[in-house]
């Protein structure tokens, strides 16, 4: 037990090298002077400069963020309701269908989700005249549908692990159902809801396949723009864009990690102090 697991630690080193060497290589070559991405031609930041003059990229990034915020918010509202339904309502008509619909998007290949949504939008336009054109609305609907499943699963598992007695205690103390929800249940599961929103936001921001099927002319998101460029080959300005995106996400995740770690450490210290004070 006291022996260092040498084999496991070397596996970890290999695994993390595998994870990060391609990303590091991508970042390094974004500072390449040469147009060739794979051969080093000296240090330069010219590709970053070009990037900020590119209106197309900035427009696409703004559209992506708008879709991500709207769809993540909708997905969080719908997903929380679905999670509550699955965790707290044991019996209602169509429960089996409902739980199937909530979990199926998680395992459905994206291509199928994409073409089925597109067929729906085209047929709806044919039959009822809506949606007139595909773009922001259709992409947002598709993203919401897809990512609400993740929110529902997160909320459901948080509710399942939550002590139901505290809801009963609130009721026992005279809270009406609505008050129980707002005073007890939602505050307790708030971290799960926030995590769900973040996940839905990231999924939407990252999505290529479903967006590719459900978007229309004039509504190009950032991943679609990158996708269309990348299909033609490797170019240094994509490296620069990738570096920016990875840095933003990386800093965000690391900061969130540190904040969570601090909160956890504080909680543990409080508990220990409480125990010490009790003795």
């Amino acid at each position: 037990m006291n022996r260092r697991p040498v084999f496991l630690i070397s596996c970890l080193c290999f695994g993390f090298a595998f994870f990060y060497i391609p990303i590091l290589s991508l970042i390094i070559f974004s500072f390449n002077r040469s147009r060739l991405v794979t051969v080093w031609g000296g240090f330069s930041t010219q590709w970053y400069g070009k990037l900020f003059q590119n209106d197309q990229i900035i427009k696409a990034a703004v559209l992506s963020l708008e879709i991500a915020v709207v769809s993540a918010t909708l997905a969080t509202i719908l997903g929380t309701m679905a999670g509550i339904t699955l965790a707290r309502f044991r019996r209602f008509k169509g429960r089996v269908v409902f739980s199937g619909m909530v979990t199926a998007p998680l395992v459905m290949p994206e291509v199928i989700t994409g073409i089925s949504s597109l067929m729906l939008f085209i047929l709806m336009a044919e039959w009822i005249g809506w949606p007139g054109s595909r773009g922001f609305t259709t992409v947002t609907i598709a993203h919401t549908t897809f990512s609400m499943a993740y929110v529902a699963v997160i909320v459901q598992s948080r509710l399942a692990s939550m002590d139901a007695a505290i809801e009963e205690a609130a009721m026992d103390l005279g809270a009406r159902p609505w008050r129980v929800l707002t005073d007890v249940t939602l505050p307790v599961i708030a971290p799960a809801i926030l995590a769900g929103w973040l996940l839905a936001f990231t999924i939407s921001l990252d999505d290529v396949v479903i967006t590719n099927f459900t978007t229309g002319p004039g509504a190009t998101t950032l991943p679609i723009l990158i996708w269309s460029k990348v299909k033609l080959g490797v170019t240094p300005d994509i490296n620069a864009l990738a570096t920016i995106i990875i840095s933003i996400v990386g800093v965000g995740v690391v900061m969130a990690g540190i904040i969570m770690h601090r909160a956890e450490a504080r909680r543990e210290r409080d508990i220990q102090m409480a125990i010490a004070a009790g003795q």
Partner: protein, 310 residues
């Protein structure tokens, strides 16, 4: 809460309430998930038409046509695509397991503060763009990249001099597809495995050692059998998306040996054959249902065993 009593003692037992909370997500999913799904299934039995939308199943109604499914078996393109998908996804799943299992186990064995750092390092690539992670490899596969050159010179050291290679033809190959799949889906293997291994009671390891097992035997007799649910969960989380993968084979794969996701997309967009695309999709889903049923079987069994414990 007592099961079967429809939330008796639960907070909103009031009908109006309950119904609203159920109805809103229910309605949304029925419209935007179930309905499209039904359309795909119906479409797979329809006939292709020249006009737009390119379907003609309403004309034939109620005659169900199996032509599209028959074509799946008659045209070798489809069978090869399915086999390529299963093979690529299977190999990728195997290597994810091979790399991911010791990593997950390793993370459970380091100190608590290190553990959080390592977990974050596993999750970090998962939050960065999927597309960009695939893109990162496109640069490495190129014939004059440092990675390709390095790998070529390593291989040349074992090859006789007259057979020495100038570079490896990695781009646009199944090798590239599998490698990038392993790279992209490795976190999906590590995270459920870690969650499973972390929950294992360390005193079980100690008990086995106390009864005379050497570390390797402890792993074989205790850790491995108890982590089977994690292996299955991780395996499915890799296999299912990998078998329907579209982006990776499109960017680094061999266009003459396509995977099934590519076939669906091409039938739909290029050939404008919606019914055929739907049939290929339905067949893919049927193919994936089996492993999913295995998974839910194990899940239920694990849950039943867990509930039997006081």
């Amino acid at each position: 809460m007592i099961e079967g009593q429809a939330g008796k003692g639960s907070w909103f037992n009031r009908r109006g309430w309950r119904d609203l909370i159920i109805a809103i997500p229910y309605g949304w999913l029925a419209t935007f998930f179930l309905l499209p799904f039904i359309i795909v299934v119906a479409m797979s039995l329809a006939r292709r038409a020249e006009f737009s939308p390119p379907i003609a199943f309403l004309d034939d109604w109620p005659f169900v046509r199996w032509d599209n499914f028959a074509r799946l078996f008659n045209d070798s393109l489809y069978i090869r695509a399915y086999l390529t998908s299963i093979w690529n996804a299977g190999v990728a799943t195997f290597f994810c397991m091979l790399i991911g299992y010791p990593m997950a186990l390793g993370i459970t064995r380091v100190g608590k503060s290190w553990r959080n750092v390592l977990l974050m390092l596993v999750i970090l690539p998962f939050w960065t763009s999927f597309l960009l992670r695939v893109y990162a490899w496109m640069g490495l596969f190129g014939s004059n990249s440092w990675f390709n050159k390095g790998l070529t010179s390593i291989i040349n050291t074992v090859l006789p001099a007259d057979m020495a290679l100038r570079s490896l033809p990695m781009m646009n190959s199944n090798f590239a597809v599998v490698l990038v799949m392993v790279y992209s889906y490795l976190p999906f293997m590590i995270l459920p495995l870690y969650a499973n291994l972390e929950k294992l009671d360390n005193t079980l390891n100690e008990a086995a050692m106390d009864l005379g097992s050497r570390p390797w035997q402890v792993f074989k007799d205790v850790t491995l059998p108890l982590s089977i649910p994690g292996i299955i969960a991780g395996g499915l989380l890799v296999f299912i998306p990998a078998s329907g993968e579209l982006i990776i084979p499109s960017l680094v794969g061999n266009a003459s040996d396509p995977m099934i996701g590519r076939v669906i997309s091409d039938e739909f967009a290029s050939a404008r054959d919606w019914p055929m695309a739907s049939a290929v999709a339905v067949a893919l889903l049927l193919m994936l249902v089996l492993p999913m049923m295995v998974y839910s079987h194990f899940e239920n069994r694990a849950q039943a065993a867990g509930e039997a414990r006081p």
